[in-house]
């Protein structure tokens, strides 16, 4: 599907081609050019900086809340690039910062939601950070109610199927969310109607403090797909390329009318659940330290360098550029006005704030 590749190039916001493109090109995963791979890497770097910034702002007392995606970035960026951006829809969850940034959310937009500014495009400062809603970039609105968005994604896919639009819908969630009844109902509905959906579970083995074995009696979330009549596939969600291949295949199945897939990306949560949590109350420092070895960013960096797709100078330049963007976005967003009392009453109904 070469369209995909052009798409990603067209969408690239910066020229990331290296000064000295290596002559001998290694074979790349289908659909991914060197440029796209570097762009994906760039999104991961940018995400990490946004994530770190959120926690720094929280520690400084400038924002009361932050939620991390560290450990999930590879899976999210891979999924974003496996879709036809601008066409396919994503229905994400609150941990999908990397997915959002890879799907077109800008650092300024991200910082605006952290600061809960009036002109925050996701919710005008009404929702917690990372509750994206960007219709023009095909990102659906979600709430904090776990798993409530899964039926929505299915309904969107139903609408696209009814209108015969060749759109795929990606719906993401944590493994904890698969315990909810609504998740079951969504999967069941999608299976019955063989809708063009990719369900992606970002399994980090914890629902806040509750470990997977107290959430389900199965080893893999993917094992649950069989109950709905479609495939469940597992991938290493800290491996960009592996996840990309799996999601891409699922997207193609969906687009060609062969129905949904449940992708389980095995990831990990590097930090506490949110800034309100302290994971050392339920797992040991050793456990947490051990996770560092799985960091998807150095891993992808090494993969790209091994193949001559990236060199240290470019990495440095990309990181600097991303840092500058995040710094600029922070200052800019902080300076934007907050909502006013009058803003409380907008968008209750299309016709106004009647009750």
């Amino acid at each position: 599907m070469p369209a995909l590749e052009e798409e990603s190039l067209a969408n690239a916001s910066n020229d990331l081609s290296m000064k000295s493109e290596p002559k001998i090109r290694v074979s790349l995963p289908e659909g991914l050019s060197a440029e796209t791979l570097r762009e994906m890497y760039g999104r991961m770097v940018l995400t990490r900086l946004c994530d770190d910034r959120a926690f720094a702002l929280n520690r400084q007392g400038k924002i009361p809340f932050a939620a991390t995606c560290q450990g999930h970035e590879a899976a999210q960026v891979a999924a974003a690039y496996a879709l036809k951006r601008g066409t396919d829809w994503v229905v994400p969850y609150y941990r999908d910062t990397a997915l959002a940034l890879a799907y077109g959310v800008t650092p300024r937009e991200q910082l605006m939601c952290l600061f809960a500014r009036k002109d925050d495009i996701f919710s005008s400062g009404r929702q917690f950070p990372n509750h994206y809603s960007v219709p023009d970039r095909k990102i659906a609105s979600i709430s904090s109610i776990i798993a409530a968005h899964v039926t929505h994604g299915v309904g969107m896919a139903l609408a696209f199927a009814m209108r015969k639009e060749p759109i795929v819908t990606l719906i993401t969630f944590g493994e904890g969310s698969t315990s909810e009844g609504e998740w079951h109902e969504a999967m069941n509905f999608a299976g019955i109607h063989q809708l063009p959906v990719v369900f992606m579970c970002e399994n980090n083995e914890f629902a806040i403090s509750v470990p997977q074995k107290l959430q389900m009696a199965v080893a893999n979330v993917a094992d649950r797909a069989a109950a709905y009549g479609f495939p469940g596939v597992i991938c290493d969600g800290t491996d960009v390329v592996a996840t990309y291949s799996v999601v891409r295949e699922a997207v193609e199945r969906a687009r060609s009318g062969d129905g949904p897939t449940l992708v389980e990306a095995k990831v990990y949560r590097a930090m506490s659940h949110t800034s309100d949590d302290n994971q050392l109350t339920y797992r040991t420092q050793d456990e947490v330290d051990a996770l560092k070895a799985r960091d998807p960013i150095p891993r992808f960096e090494a993969w790209l360098k091994d193949r001559g797709l990236l060199d240290d100078a470019t990495i440095k330049q990309m990181k600097q550029q991303a840092q500058a963007e995040v710094d600029e976005a922070t200052d800019w967003a902080e300076a934007q006005p907050p909502p006013t009392e009058a803003d409380l009453y907008t968008h209750v109904y299309a016709s106004g704030p009647l009750s």
Partner: protein, 327 residues
């Protein structure tokens, strides 16, 4: 004008909107070949096809949740909950999600969705097929709630609901389906959401009600008229938004307010009506506000005796009217 039943009004609204607008579709349990348990959608499957008349699995959260998603994606779903008693599993989707989508996305997303469901007693539906649910939803900003009682209102309000840009909970009193007949305008017409109907003019007291009780209240008013007492009967037609000014105008005129609903009293919709009057029309009143409502027990039972003991009827309403004018 044609004479039809409430059921026919509902059906004709669904039919005309589906014919008019390809974005409109129906989903719910047994809406397909069965044509819904009350036969409202009989023939729809053949006419509109399987992609627009969807027999769903037995799973209310997804009936609403999938419809919410479809609405967000530009469709106009009409989701059916087979009986109002079965709406609870979908409460999260209605109250937590649909009602907040516009607000939470600051207008970025909308959710033009109708959730239809038959409610109310009087058909021997027993403990789980008789409930009135309006009080469990009317507190929720972002929702609209319709409770038509006549064929014309059922049809005209349902058309309005389907064309509305926001989620509407559309409550059809199942006892009215075949019991209540009435004139309905021909062709395309709507009844606006948010406007009460002064179903009967009167000067001696105001009866504020909705649903099946509208008909009982009118009958009670007619019986009192023989003794020269003229009751005004206000049928709210929609509960959220609630037509405060029609209520207040009537009470200002009659100086006496009787609120009647089938639903239980404590925390029912009548509480808000009484509160509006107590805040806005207190000095107009010549008598305390009165509420005649269902009793504060968990449900209407199956035995005929329970149903009769539970539901306000013409005699009880007439009695309460007499008592109130006597104060």
């Amino acid at each position: 004008m044609a004479t039809k039943t409430v059921l026919e009004g509902v059906r004709d609204a669904l039919h005309s909107e589906m014919a008019r607008d390809p974005r409109v579709f129906i989903m719910g349990e047994d809406v397909g070949p069965r044509g819904n348990v009350f036969l409202i959608t009989k023939g729809f499957l053949d006419e509109f096809g399987r992609s627009r008349v969807i027999d769903t699995p037995l799973a209310e959260a997804s009936i609403v949740g999938v419809a919410v998603g479809a609405a967000m994606a530009g469709m106009r779903p009409v989701a059916e909950i087979q009986f109002a008693d079965f709406i609870y599993p979908a409460y999260n989707q209605i109250v937590g999600e649909a009602a907040k989508i516009r607000y939470r996305s600051a207008g970025g997303n909308s959710c033009p969705l109708v959730i239809r469901t038959p409610y109310g007693g009087g058909v021997r539906g027993a403990l789980s097929h008789s409930v009135s649910i309006e009080a469990l939803f009317y507190h929720v900003p972002g929702l609209k709630i319709c409770v038509p009682s006549t064929p014309a209102d059922a049809q005209g309000l349902l058309v309005s609901a389907i064309r509305d840009e926001d989620p509407v909970l559309f409550l059809e009193h199942k006892r009215t389906y075949r019991l209540i007949k009435g004139d309905v305008p021909e062709g395309d017409f709507t009844v606006p959401i948010g406007k009460a109907d002064v179903a009967r003019q009167g000067k001696d007291l105001s009866v504020i009600t909705y649903g099946l009780m509208r008909h009982f209240a009118i009958e009670a008013a007619q019986s009192l008229a023989k003794d020269g007492v003229e009751a005004e009967v206000i049928d709210l037609r929609t509960i959220r938004p609630m037509d405060r000014s029609t209520i207040l105008q009537s009470v200002a005129k009659t100086k006496r307010a009787l609120i009647v609903h089938e639903d239980q009293k404590f925390g029912g919709v009548g509480a808000e009506i009484a509160a509006i009057i107590a805040e806005e029309a207190l000095f107009d009143l010549d008598a305390p506000v009165r509420r005649l409502c269902g009793p504060d027990v968990p449900a209407m039972g199956y035995a005929k005796e329970y149903e009769e003991a539970f539901m306000p009827n013409v005699e009880r309403i007439a009695g309460a009217m007499c008592d109130l004018v006597a104060v």
